[in-house]
Amino acid sequence: MIEVQNLTKYFKDFCAVNNISMTIRKGEILGLLGPNGAGKTTTLRMLTGYFRPNSGTITIKGLQMPKDAIQIKSLIGYLPESAPLYHNMLVYDYLEYVAKIKGIDDREKRYDRFLQLSDICGLSSIMDKPIADLSKGLKQRVGIAHAMMTDPEILILDEPTSGLDPNQIVEIRDIIKTIGKEKTIIFSTHILSEAEATCDRIAIIHNGKMVADDTTANLKLGAQQNSMIKLSLKGALKEDATSLLKSIHSDLDVKNVDPVEKDLVSFEITYSDDGSKNHDFRSDIYLKIKETDWIIVQLIKESQTLEKIFRELTREEA
């Protein structure tokens, strides 16, 4: 569907995007992650034809950028960062303008599409308001309606949930997931839980370079795993419990932490888990504690989170 090869973009001497290649299949939801200024927006802007790359090729459905730019642009629905719109227009007038430019000439068809879009994006109450009077979240919705106007095959969204309230974030995520069943979606974000919840695949960009590009599950598997067990006990003494836990296995690193509730003793037990041993220490801990008269209140295993992978990959070498 989308093929990007050796994409590079310089701003004067600054290399914003450095030799990025990726392939995006039809129906995939790709999350583009990266710290601020990593080159996410620049990459998306090159995909949409707003920036011209210094080198590298972009092929979308067999069409070449920039030779077939206009055809490619009609395949893509794009929501730029912070949804820049014409402030002096009414929402309805703006949508009408966009629909006409994007080639929906039939009046009936336009109205039908507006009805669908106002349903999906929740615009019915603001259709007659000037865009300048809208809050950031509402502008974002108008921007999403703009992007989805022609029901495009590819949606490119630059930080679609920034500035939205938690309810709206959930709504937008649902929209992305629903549309993502049939369409190809690329979106950038720096909210990791969001990427984890919505994306099939995650690409992490750092300093203009692609540092990871894989499915969410594979990313977690591939990276050096450190598992952690959170344990909270009732009726135990700190020292006794620590020595007992340490006696289970020499690999375990037992750390006493602030209790989650009053009258409890809490521990974080970390151990390296390279996947081959696949040993679950939870059962060992349970069996050991069963021998005492303590009560297990909490016993959770946490595997490595995306956040940790992200931090490892994008750490500055200072």
């Binding site: 642009k73 820049p84 014409y86 402030h87």
Partner: protein, 234 residues
């Protein structure tokens, strides 16, 4: 073609949504009205010659004020990105904006039609120079709009766009008054580049294809340059 029309109509409406249109039109009418009528009864001639001879100067200040926002505002707000990622060619965008500005200056000239109507009540008006004058005014306005559009595409700052536009338009206007500085060999070439002589010809009622070709070439060159700037800036 349809997209050019859509963009032109949207930009034209934009002028009248904001107060810019009304301010610019009033300013234009006050300035031209005062300079025209302050000497009108002294000379006692029933024609619009003074009105049209003043037009190139007023246009070189008024038109950059009209065109300065066309690209600069969009670049500043960021809607430029939205516009450029829609399936429209750069030339279509430039043409749409150009037609909107030209249409606006034409509508600015409509109230001045009152002058020939009133003058015809108090004296015999020769219709030739009046019709020629308005045709010439439209061509001149269109040429200056393309200059202003080009100036606006260069920067995201509207004030800079205005000043560059003024400088370009003013240069074209006064070029034929600077001829005594020039070496004699290039005088005729420089005179051809200046807008004034072409406009004066048309406003005398002589519609010559050379003058029309001049204005069309200026429009073409600057709209083309605008689309080149749009390409290069990305």
């Amino acid at each position: 073609m349809k997209q050019i029309k859509t963009i032109a109509i949207k930009e034209f409406k934009d002028y009248f949504i904001s107060p810019i249109a009304y301010i610019v039109i009033s300013l234009f009418l006050i300035v031209t009205g005062w300079f025209f009528f302050s000497t009108f009864f002294i000379f006692g001639r029933a024609d619009l010659r003074d009105f049209f001879s003043l037009l190139p100067i007023t246009f070189s200040f008024i038109i950059p004020a009209i065109t300065m926002r066309l690209f600069s505002e969009e670049k500043n707000v960021g809607s430029y990105e939205t516009l450029l990622t829609m399936p429209v060619s750069f030339t279509d965008i430039a043409l749409g904006k150009f037609f909107a500005a030209t249409l606006f200056t034409a509508s600015m000239l409509v109230p001045t039609l009152a002058y020939p109507i009133f003058i015809s009540l108090i004296g015999e008006v020769d219709p030739g120079p009046v019709i020629g004058g308005y045709i010439g005014a439209i061509f001149l306005a269109a040429a200056y709009c393309s200059l202003g559009l080009f100036a606006s595409s260069l920067t995201r700052n509207q004030i800079i766009a205005f000043i560059i536009g003024c400088a370009l338009c003013f240069t074209l206007t006064i070029l034929d008054k600077l001829l005594f500085f020039m070496p004699s060999k290039i005088i005729s070439a420089i005179e051809y580049i200046g807008a004034n002589s072409h406009f004066t010809n048309i406003s005398r009622g002589i519609i010559d294809s050379r003058d029309i070709l001049y204005f069309v070439s200026v429009i073409f060159i600057f709209i083309f340059s605008t689309s080149i700037v749009m390409h290069e800036k990305n």
